[in-house]
């Protein structure tokens, strides 16, 4: 049973191809949306020109003024970040890699209630990896484009709110609350979580523009950041957390920072980055105390400078902070988006952007910012249609925002549907075992006894669909999993299961008596399954059956299990073999079990005779 028990490779070809196909197919939908928007735009332009020619255009120049520079900076910067993050989500390893390589490790050290929350999201993703991965691509690209194309007004503020909402979901389910409930939390490693910074930016964009008319918002933002950094400095300086240590010595394990950097070194990345990380790790190994002292002092200084409220100090602090963040981004966070499952550039980039935005909000004001107003209509407020017709720029922005929302919905819709579907996608079973082979030959006969020592033959199963597989009753790994998959398939069939017999045949020449089939049934909770048969017989009967069904069974020496083929057959009610499947359960996770059960159910259900 080669490969038994091994999880799917992150770049499994079946999954990768299905993921790319899904993105390509959905890209076509995006193209259709863009074409429709282009048509609508052309219609609008034609209408606008006709109105201008008739002289009926009552539009006047907007008295809206300029978008506040801080808001524009944050909107554009985080819009670009979302687009980048969306593109990163399209990496081929994302469907299988995100839950196991990113999400679960992030929650590993968190309390049980955090892991419980995170696992709820992991389960949805693991059950529907293609849908979830593709959905995340389009949601994030859509949000990013929406931020970019809708500069002001309700459409823009809506983009900010959606940014904050999606950011909260990512912060909780993708980042385990940024690891703030786990020991070892440190600003250096990304606390309080990159997604939370996107939430802050989103709320800043969603805020009314009059919030930017004074320096208060910016000053408060900088003060809050300053307080945060002072707190992080205190945390970094706290003894007993491993940060005051370099290399392992005297029975003490290596320092926390050194361990993190060493783990980053192992990420698949350009050699120049590996060299940088290695050099820094070597330096920290011998100068752990000095490194942490610098980190603490710089953090405290940055915090104090930002909180000072004095422009020259804040400006100088900002410059130092950006350089400091850049250093951490390279030497500790390792850019964040490498290795094949990097989802974003981690926290230093959005943190630096927020600081710049805060500075702009504090000190770069058009002091009198007027709300964007629609077309000035002397007598009454213009309707949306009138605004669309009268103002080409406004019309373009609305159509572009609609397009971006459509892109985001292209992901959100399927994601929502997947979250309520507890049956995993069949793609997982196909990735583990390949596509089932359609067959059309008479099933070989067998004459055996069931777990109650009653004679059972293939002929006695006529009139029902039979799923026949081969299980070792003393197996320690895959056979119990296959049995549970069959049990789960029976649950999925529901009442239709009365037309199906689930048949297992013993695949062990030494441990094959009825006592063992009964013991297996008890251990696997199969004793109450009304359509379950676990067949055995004399050694010659079993060998004949194995040969006829192409099952290899070998006694392995040295304390090993019996080696046997993992094959299952779907036999229709007339005794014709209709499908042959590889039934190896792979890693046997809840997702792969559900997937195989769902696949088997989909093959069996059409064959069940109607009553």
């Amino acid at each position: 049973m080669p490969g038994m028990g091994k999880p799917l490779e992150l770049t499994n070809p079946t999954i990768a191809l299905a993921f790319q196909s899904a993105l390509l197919r959905q890209s076509l939908y995006v193209v259709v949306v863009l074409v429709m928007l282009a048509v609508a735009w052309n219609v609008l332009r034609a209408t606008q020109r006709a109105r201008s020619a008739r002289g009926t255009d009552r539009a006047t120049a907007t008295a809206g003024g300029q978008e506040p520079s801080a808001r524009r900076f944050l909107r554009v910067a985080f819009g670009l970040l979302w687009v980048l993050d969306g593109v990163l989500q399209a990496q081929v390893a994302m469907p299988l890699g995100l839950p196991t390589q990113v999400i679960q490790p992030a929650a590993a050290a968190s309390p049980g209630w955090v892991q419980h929350l995170v696992n709820a999201g992991v389960t949805i993703w693991s059950n529907h990896p293609i849908t979830a991965a593709a959905a995340t691509v389009w949601i994030q690209v859509g949000i990013g484009v929406w931020l970019l194309v809708a500069p002001r007004g309700g459409w823009s503020r809506g983009a900010g709110l959606v940014t904050a909402g999606w950011g909260v979901l990512v912060w909780i389910f993708g980042e385990a609350f940024g690891g703030i409930f786990a020991p070892g939390v440190s600003w250096m490693f990304g606390a309080p979580g990159a997604a939370l910074l996107y939430v802050v930016a989103g709320l800043a964009v969603a805020a009314p523009e009059r919030s930017y008319s004074t320096a208060r918002l910016g000053r408060w933002a900088l003060a809050a950041c300053g307080t945060f950094f002072v707190g992080m400095a205190a945390l970094q300086a706290w003894p007993g957390r491993g940060f005051w240590q370099g290399a392992a010595s005297g029975g003490h394990p290596g320092g926390t920072l050194l361990t993190m950097v060493r783990s980053m070194e192992a990420t698949r990345q350009p050699h120049v980055l590996v060299s940088l990380l290695s050099s820094f790790a070597s330096f920290d190994s011998g100068h752990g105390v000095a490194v942490n002292l610098v980190v603490v002092l710089l953090l405290a200084a940055v915090g104090a400078g930002l909180a000072s409220g004095r422009r020259p100090v804040v400006r100088a602090t900002l410059a130092v902070a950006v350089l400091y963040f850049l250093a951490d981004w390279i030497f500790v966070e390792d850019l964040g988006f490498l290795g094949g499952v990097g989802t974003d550039p981690n926290s230093m980039v959005p943190l630096a952007l927020l600081l710049v935005g805060g500075y702009l909000a504090s000190y770069s004001l058009p002091l009198h910012v007027e709300e964007v107003s629609p077309v000035v209509v002397p007598i009454r407020a213009a309707s949306l249609r009138e605004r669309l017709v009268a103002r080409p720029a406004y019309a373009f922005r609305v159509l572009a925002a609609l397009g971006a929302i459509g892109v985001a919905l292209l992901g959100a819709g399927p994601m929502a549907a997947a979250s309520v579907n507890s049956t995993a996608s069949p793609i997982l079973a196909e990735a583990t075992d390949g596509t089932p082979n359609a067959t059309d030959f008479p099933a070989p006969a067998f004459h055996l006894v069931d777990q109650y020592d009653r004679p059972v033959s293939l002929a006695s199963l006529r009139g029902k669909v039979a799923v026949v597989t081969f299980l070792d009753p003393v197996c320690t790994s895959d056979c119990p999993v296959i049995a549970q998959e069959l049990r789960e398939a029976d649950q999925m069939l529901g009442a239709a299961g009365r037309g199906v017999e689930l048949v297992a045949i013993v695949a062990n020449p030494l441990y094959r008596s009825v006592a063992f089939t009964q013991a297996f049934d008890r251990a696997e909770g199969l004793t109450h399954l009304g359509n379950w048969l676990y067949l055995t017989g004399s050694l010659s009967s079993l060998e004949r059956t194995w040969n006829q069904y192409g099952i290899q069974v070998a006694v392995e020496p040295g304390g090993s299990m019996i080696a046997h083929s993992d094959l299952a057959y779907v036999i229709d009610a007339s005794g014709m073999t209709r499908y042959a499947l590889d039934s190896s359960p792979g890693a046997g996770s809840a997702a792969t079990r559900s997937s195989f059960a769902g696949l088997l159910t989909s093959l069996v259900r059409p064959l069940i005779p109607r009553a």
Binding site: P183, A223, A224, V230, M232, S513
Partner: protein, 406 residues
């Protein structure tokens, strides 16, 4: 900036600092509890338990048997337990591991005085019960049986009497005992730990959990248990009046805390190995039942700190041996012939990586073999008694299929 805003900023800063302090303290406490390696403490208040590995050897009329772990020990799915036998008619060890079941969880073997050997597979991974294998021809052929639950992971989880009766100790939380009259697939519950714990005998020793099964000299069932009361060894024998605690007088009396490590009846000879803790001095004591029901006790074998039990077992006479890891080296000790005051004797230190030692023959044909394991290769080093040196005498390559168990 207004005074109000300034005060508000100050309050915010102080509050954030305070929260950070609490967060750091909580995180540090969490880390500290997980980071510091506390010394192992026995939950029964007795001596620090040495732990009882499954590696063992014993004698039966059909030969000397040894169970050792081989392969990539430390990786559960790539650890494969092997059974070897030194038949009376041969001078070489033979691999006789029962086939058909993955034994990554361990093998538990025992024999009766008639030569019947019973091997149990400690269930591992997803297997929910323990298959058995039985042989009456020194491992040339095995027949199948099963215990309908998981065996306890202890070398004394099985016992077989000369009359064909069998006992099996299950690995549930505190253990229960199944009995069979001879069919290795037909078992019934003989004793539940809770019932014994509530009995007068159980209360008298402060019984905690069951740890071993065996048969006495007359074929009476014996059950071993861990006890909390000082000076008491949890060996219970079944009589017409029920289960009774065996009177076993230990050195130091009630001031010693005692832990039962082994209770074996392989080859028809019953023996017990007890760990004593008296004033923080840990020592080992052997014990054997007499025909009158009284038990005799050996002298104490003092142990230093940091000692680890590698293997234990019995000689053909019923004497005991222990293979200890002390620092970088190994130490081999045996008791003299069973009886009151039997003294411990240290033998030359076996080679490094010795998994167990086996004693066979008597008198001039007596031999001591150190079975040394390196991955899938077992080497037999025999002790030359005159020169007291270990000499390589045999090498066996075991065909292990790594990765076959999942």
């Amino acid at each position: 900036m207004t005074r109000v805003a300034h005060r508000a900023r100050l309050a915010l800063t102080v509050g954030a600092l305070g929260a950070t302090v609490l967060l750091g303290a909580g995180g540090t406490a969490h880390l500290r509890a997980g980071d510091v390696l506390l010394p192992a403490r026995s939950s029964i208040g007795g001596p620090v338990p040495l732990g009882v590995p499954l590696a063992t050897s014993f004698s039966s009329p059909d030969g000397t048997w040894a169970d050792v772990a081989m392969g990539r020990v430390g990786q559960l799915v790539n650890t494969f337990w092997q059974t070897f036998v030194l038949r009376p008619s041969s001078s070489r060890w033979t691999l006789v591991t029962p086939p058909g079941v993955a034994d990554n969880g361990g093998l538990v073997s025992t024999s009766s005085r008639t030569g019947r050997v019973l091997a149990g597979f400690v269930a591992s991974q997803l297997l929910g019960y323990s298959p058995l294998a039985e042989t009456a021809d020194a491992g040339r052929a095995w027949s199948a049986g099963l215990v309908p639950a998981r065996l306890a992971t202890t070398p004394d989880a099985l016992a077989v009497s000369g009359h064909g009766g069998m006992l099996a100790l299950l690995g549930a939380r505190d253990g229960s005992v199944l009995a069979s009259s001879g069919n290795p697939s037909d078992w019934h519950t003989s004793l539940r730990a809770g019932a014994l714990r509530a009995s007068p005998a159980g209360r008298s020793c402060g019984l905690q959990r069951l740890v071993a099964v065996a048969y006495g000299p007359r074929g009476t069932p014996l059950v071993g248990a861990s006890c909390t009361k000082g000076g008491r060894v949890g060996i219970f024998t079944h009589t017409s009046t029920g289960w009774n605690l065996v009177p076993l007088h230990l050195p130091g009396g009630a001031s010693s805390s005692a832990g039962l490590l082994r209770l074996s009846s392989s080859g028809g000879r019953t023996s017990a190995l007890v760990e004593l803790d008296r004033a923080r001095q840990v020592s080992l004591v052997g014990a054997w039942p007499g025909t009158s029901g009284t038990w005799s006790v050996s002298t104490s074998l003092p142990l230093g700190s940091g000692v680890r039990l590698v293997a234990s077992g019995t000689l053909g006479s019923g004497a005991l041996f222990v293979l200890l890891a002390e620092g970088p080296g190994l130490r081999l000790e045996t008791t003299g012939p069973p009886g009151a005051g039997a003294t411990w004797q240290e033998l030359p230190a076996p080679p490094a990586s010795t998994a167990t030692v086996a004693f066979s023959g008597t008198g001039r044909s007596a031999r001591v073999d150190a079975l040394v394991v390196h991955g899938s290769t077992l080497t037999d080093d025999a002790l030359r008694l005159r020169s007291r040196r270990w000499v390589r005498s045999q090498t066996i390559k075991v065909p292990i299929t790594y990765g076959s168990s999942g």
